[in-house]
Amino acid sequence: MREISVKVNGRIRKRNIKDNELLLDFLREKLEVRSVKAACWRGECGLCTVMVDGSLVKSCLVLAVEADGREVKTVEGITDDGELAPIQKAFVNHGAAQCGFCTPAWVLATHELLKVNPHPTDADLVEATSGLVCRCGTYNQIREAVAEVSRAGTHGQTKASLARA
């Protein structure tokens, strides 16, 4: 056992872990962040995707101990002062969730894509999310949601930035 300290969605969390613990299990079981889904455990479905120090990774392929001293962001971390981010609203508008199991990973991944590429082409979207699956097949609705945010140019607008403007 060793103690690690991880900043999760802006809050420092300290827990004792075993060296062989996965970041996925640490987040779900130790911190009860259940938006991070455990499905394939093999890096294939992408539903355990989180940000570690600003980089999207699959948490079933990362050791918890590797996240010691780092910053982790999950879908909870993208809301703006309690209000849904533009991509989240767009997911709602377009019904881009069926069963909802994969939705947190898709929201996080498309949110991050829009951050680096505010107007992604279909090919950009397919490439950026090629590590994620949706077994309900909501791909079209997700594409429409991303297109809406791209068209509106609302990505990255926060209450604070709007107030300043």
Binding site: D19, N20, W41, G43, E44, G46, L63, E66, S130
Partner: protein, 289 residues
């Protein structure tokens, strides 16, 4: 990668994160066979979940500062540290321009999230016959830099891979970097067929030099046998230039001469067919440039 293992957790091990090469060598000297090196962990964690590997020590090389370097030496070549990820390589503009065969091979490995973790050296050291970096590296005449208790040595990638999951690396040795010579004015391309799985059923890497009438060609096939196969016959077929005629001839020769095996992914006969298809595709693409 799943072979149907019921495990979702990892076997017990002690985790180490050395900060420099000296510390790393010390750990490997101490633990040797009981330790496994971890780069991005993509392969090792999957292998451990399958219980194909149960090391008692896992040594993470990502923080070894010497391993983070990606260095171009003008006119000489490219040095890729053991902790350089596939994403970092794909973002490198010189790699895209001067080492196109490797760029094309890496661009289609897994997905962006995996590529942010996976390292090229890790990908190579797994020595899984169906992965794409080895044929591209052999086509570029790359060499593996190795450090160990007896000092340093360098081995061509083609002889470093001895067989499936079998590499020329002692229990206390570590791969520090990959060295790729600069091929002035050379052109390269990579093609593969996956049938929808994450592994290739057949792949081909081509590098052709631009100088002179008789061109120097290197053609390496991957995923059709236990180790990559360089084909002198196919190379000879395109040496006078890539034309519709020579491409057709090269594709026929590949299908006839390159030895293929039956395994869990495909039959040898199917692979023979794929060799013809991918050789035609890769050469047509090079012709169109």
């Amino acid at each position: 990668m799943s072979f149907g293992s019921p495990y979702t957790t990892l076997p017990d091990f002690e985790y180490h994160r050395p900060a420099n090469l000296e510390e790393l060598l010390g750990l490997m000297k101490q633990y040797g066979d009981d330790a496994k090196l971890m780069g991005g962990g993509v392969g090792l964690i999957a292998f451990m979940k399958e219980r194909l590997m149960s090391p008692t020590h896992v040594v993470d090389v990502k923080e070894v500062k010497e391993f983070k370097q990606l260095t171009h030496v003008q006119g000489k070549g490219l040095s890729i540290g053991a902790a350089v990820t596939l994403s970092e390589l794909l973002e490198d503009v010189v790699l895209k321009k001067d080492y196109a065969v490797l760029h094309e091979a890496l661009a289609r490995v897994a997905d962006p999230m995996i590529r942010r973790r996976a390292t090229l050296v890790g990908n190579l050291c797994e020595a899984i016959p169906w992965v794409d970096s080895p044929p591209a590296l052999i086509a570029l005449d790359a060499a593996v830099d190795i450090a160990g208790p007896e000092g340093r040595r360098s081995v061509p990638v083609g002889s470093f891979i001895r067989g499936p999951v079998d590499i020329d690396l002692g229990p206390s040795e570590i791969v520090t970097a990959l060295e790729i010579p600069h091929h002035k004015g050379a052109e390269g391309a990579f093609e593969k067929f996956t049938g929808g799985s994450e592994f290739s059923l057949a792949s081909v890497a081509v590098v052709v030099s631009n100088g002179g009438r008789r061109r120097d060609a290197r053609v390496v096939y991957g995923a059709v046998n236990s180790t990559p196969i360089r084909s002198a016959d196919v190379e000879e077929a395109i040496r006078d230039g890539i034309t519709p005629g020579s491409a057709r001839k090269a594709a026929d020769i590949a299908s006839q001469k390159v030895e293929c095996v039956d395994d869990v992914l495909a039959t040898a006969a199917y692979r023979k067919h794929l060799l013809k298809v991918i050789t035609t595709k890769v050469l047509r693409r090079m012709m169109a440039r």
